[in-house]
């Protein structure tokens, strides 16, 4: 990878984070005709409104408000929660840690199931097993997280009583019970990803298996296993990196819903609470952190892809 390429990617992520911060701030603070009313509600007194406006610096020009906020953020100061009175930063980042735990476990589960399913589907194309898996993944992609979560809770927690329905135990405290509480959320949020990624892997591999170079490999007399593992997979799995990176976006959305349903104290939950209590600084921080996480995940995936694929043109 050439320095020019790296430079360009870094510049891009800088620009991306800048745009994200503009959007988050703009939507939550600039666009509302009056953020003060949005915060306090319709029945607030003019005096209270004026006080809040003063306090939040809403009388300053837009770009100045943005600048104050951004410079604070860059120094690590995300403001103070209007709900708890505590600094927003530490709360959000701790919450992020828990969400990342959930996300990473979900990605692990997804990859370990989606890859074999996708590969198996492509290799056994058209047979009964493939059809079965295809149909299942079609259905899997069409069920929103809150539906699958609810159904899983219904069956596994309420009816069979195998797993707890809600709640959170930090893994550091009690690994066993912590995992118990994480199983349902991780499975829920993974369902859509497994369905989606296995379909993508299958489709990608089917395309690869039809290429001229795979035909050439077969006609060289190479055994089917060699053709699959040595020749086909490296070409089919490379685009998977990009797809997984893009799916992190769905994942983060799913995390929000799942944390709400299973009462997990992660970033998603914090966001929902912040939205419901109109805690502006928390909303801004949470959204910024979440979007930045996604942007950075994509950035890493880009670099990994470029490093692995010799054909990417530098710059």
């Amino acid at each position: 990878m050439s320095p020019a390429y790296l430079l360009k990617r870094l510049a891009l992520i800088g620009y991306t984070l800048f745009v994200v911060s503009l959007l988050v701030f703009g939507i939550t603070q600039i666009l509302p005709a009056d953020a003060a009313t949005m915060l306090l509600g319709e029945n607030a007194t003019p005096a209270a409104l004026a006080a809040v406006r003063e306090k939040l610096g809403l009388n300053d020009p837009a770009w100045l408000q943005y600048w104050h906020w951004l410079s604070g953020v860059l120094q690590g100061d995300f403001g103070t929660s209007t709900r708890t009175g505590q600094p927003v930063g530490p709360t959000m980042f701790t919450a992020l840690g828990r969400s990342l735990q959930l996300a990473l476990l979900a990605i692990l589960l997804t990859l370990s199931l989606a890859l074999p399913l996708g590969i198996g589907g492509a290799v056994n194309r058209g047979k009964a097993a493939d059809l079965g898996v295809s149909i299942t993944s079609y259905i899997g992609v069409s069920i929103p997280e809150f539906v699958s979560a609810t159904l899983l809770i219904l069956v596994l927690a309420d009816w069979l009583q195998w797993l707890p329905a809600t709640g959170y135990v930090p893994l550091s405290e009690n690994f066993g019970r912590g995992i118990e509480h994480l199983v349902l959320p991780v499975v829920t949020v993974s369902i859509i990803m497994i369905a989606h990624i296995s379909r993508m892997v299958r489709s990608e591999l089917v395309d690869v298996l039809h290429t001229d170079y795979i035909r050439a490999a077969r006609l060289k007399g190479l055994p089917p296993r060699t053709v699959l593992f040595r020749h086909a997979l490296r070409n089919a799995l490379l685009p998977t990196i990009t797809i997984v990176a893009l799916d992190v976006g769905y994942l983060l959305g799913g995390v929000i819903v799942v944390e709400e349903i299973f009462a997990l104290p992660g970033l998603g939950r914090q966001l929902i609470v912040a939205i419901q209590t109109r805690d502006l600084p928390s909303i801004q921080a949470g959204a910024l952190i979440m979007a930045s996480t996604y942007a950075i995940a994509n950035f890493i995936a880009d670099l990994a892809y470029a490093w692995l694929d010799k054909r990417i043109q530098y710059g």
């Binding site: 020019a4 050439a216 077969r218 060289k220 007399g221 490296r234 490379l238």
Partner: protein, 538 residues
Amino acid sequence: MSILSVDDYSLDYAVPAGLRRALDGVSLHIDRGEVLGLVGESGSGKTSLAWAIMRYLPESAKESGRIALGSQPLTGATPGEIAAIRGKRIGMVFQDPGTSLNPTLTLGAQLSEVLVLHRGLAKKEAETEGEALLARVGLRNPAAMMRRYPHEASGGEKQRVVIATAFACQPELILFDEPTTALDVITARQILDLFAELQEETHVASLYISHDLAVVSAIANRVAVIHRGHIVETGPIGDVFARPRDSYTKMLLEAVPRPGHRIVATQPDAQSAPLLAADRIGVTYGRKSFVSSLLGRAQERFAGNREVSLTIRPGEILGIVGESGSGKSTLAKALTGLNPFTGEIRFGGRAIANLRAMDEAYRRDVQIIFQNPDSSLNPRQRVREILSRPLALYGETKGGKTRDVIAGLLEQVRLPAEFADRFPHQLSGGEKQRVAIARAFASNPKLVICDEITSSLDVSVQAAVIALLVELQRIHGTSYLFITHDLNLVRQIAHRIAVMYRGALVELIDVSRLPEGAVNGYTRELLAAVPAPLSARA
């Protein structure tokens, strides 16, 4: 005993409508040290025969008859037996090295793996042997080439690697499926020479499949002509090409471009002023990269055309030859306003300095036909609408109704009037190209630029399209700028020939003075590389 024997072999594919016969009672044989050329056009079944020999047929295939490798029958062989034969006793070289090599494995890895598999070499030995093989096929610096990826090698280099891989396990039979079609003429020549060398050295039996009779005549001992699944004629190559018995063979031979056989009878008026003069046309590609300018690096601008100057007289056919990347299409696009250019065009006395100056009058008089008929006709427009556009733009209805004019246009290109209601995907390649020609001639242009318009067509279809163009030229006196990479073809029809190399015009010569009169080194190299025209008929 023959190395390859095919006895009364038939192949059908099961399609929704029933059975489609791909091969019908095919019989042929190849002995040790022999090269059998299998010649046919698209849809003839020649490639199906290759798959049948390699036992690489889909499940929908139904066969009858017998194919055998020496004493071992291939039809009816078990998967185990087939696996033992592929790569080891039968090798294959494919058409496009760009797609038949795995882009994510090094060339060396793809070569070594057959050595490990079929010759039982250890990995290290296989690498050493691989290097030796690469040297044998004429690659400079084999050690470096082993470590390269396909995209880091040129087409010719890749094809040499593929050939090395096929020969590596010393097979008894090698199938060659149009191995030089995707390469430029000079590289193709080198590959053909390499093939001849190796074949003589190893006495491998070879089946050389091609649509190009000139190429086949250069390297084959015997030839089989295949048409719609039937072998219509077979025999020693000199005999078949000199004294063909079958009508299809005769038609095919007639259609092959031969420089000695001039098709165009007209001559441009030597005294008249040039119709179009291109003065130092330059085209550059590439954008300034922001990052590059930040890092102070030199800008990479790629020159598509370097100061190309030429003239075309009324009624003249000017041929432009060159390899891909030589800038011929770039020039064509500049002349029709599709590329921004520097320099000047003078047309009919007027000066055209840039795209904006190309007004309706210019565009009416200068038309272009593209290479690929699949993409030059809008798939969502019927032929009627496609042909009505130039009429609408240039008002050429001459008082008659549009429908009649369109019928007239179709007739001119020998297509039935009902075709006006069809969509492009309902037409064959040749028919689509005729529609494109009709479209170009709708405005009665003075100059028609033909950008490789027959390159994607079969030989017989190409001959028909060329005949049509020649006829239209005779009737209307149109000038052509005929771009092609086929030197034999252009010598049949052009009055003058321009040779392009790497964006520059290196030679401009009267066709009558070829080949001895060629001055430029590249031109001479090109002329030497072109397969010699068939010795058959004058």
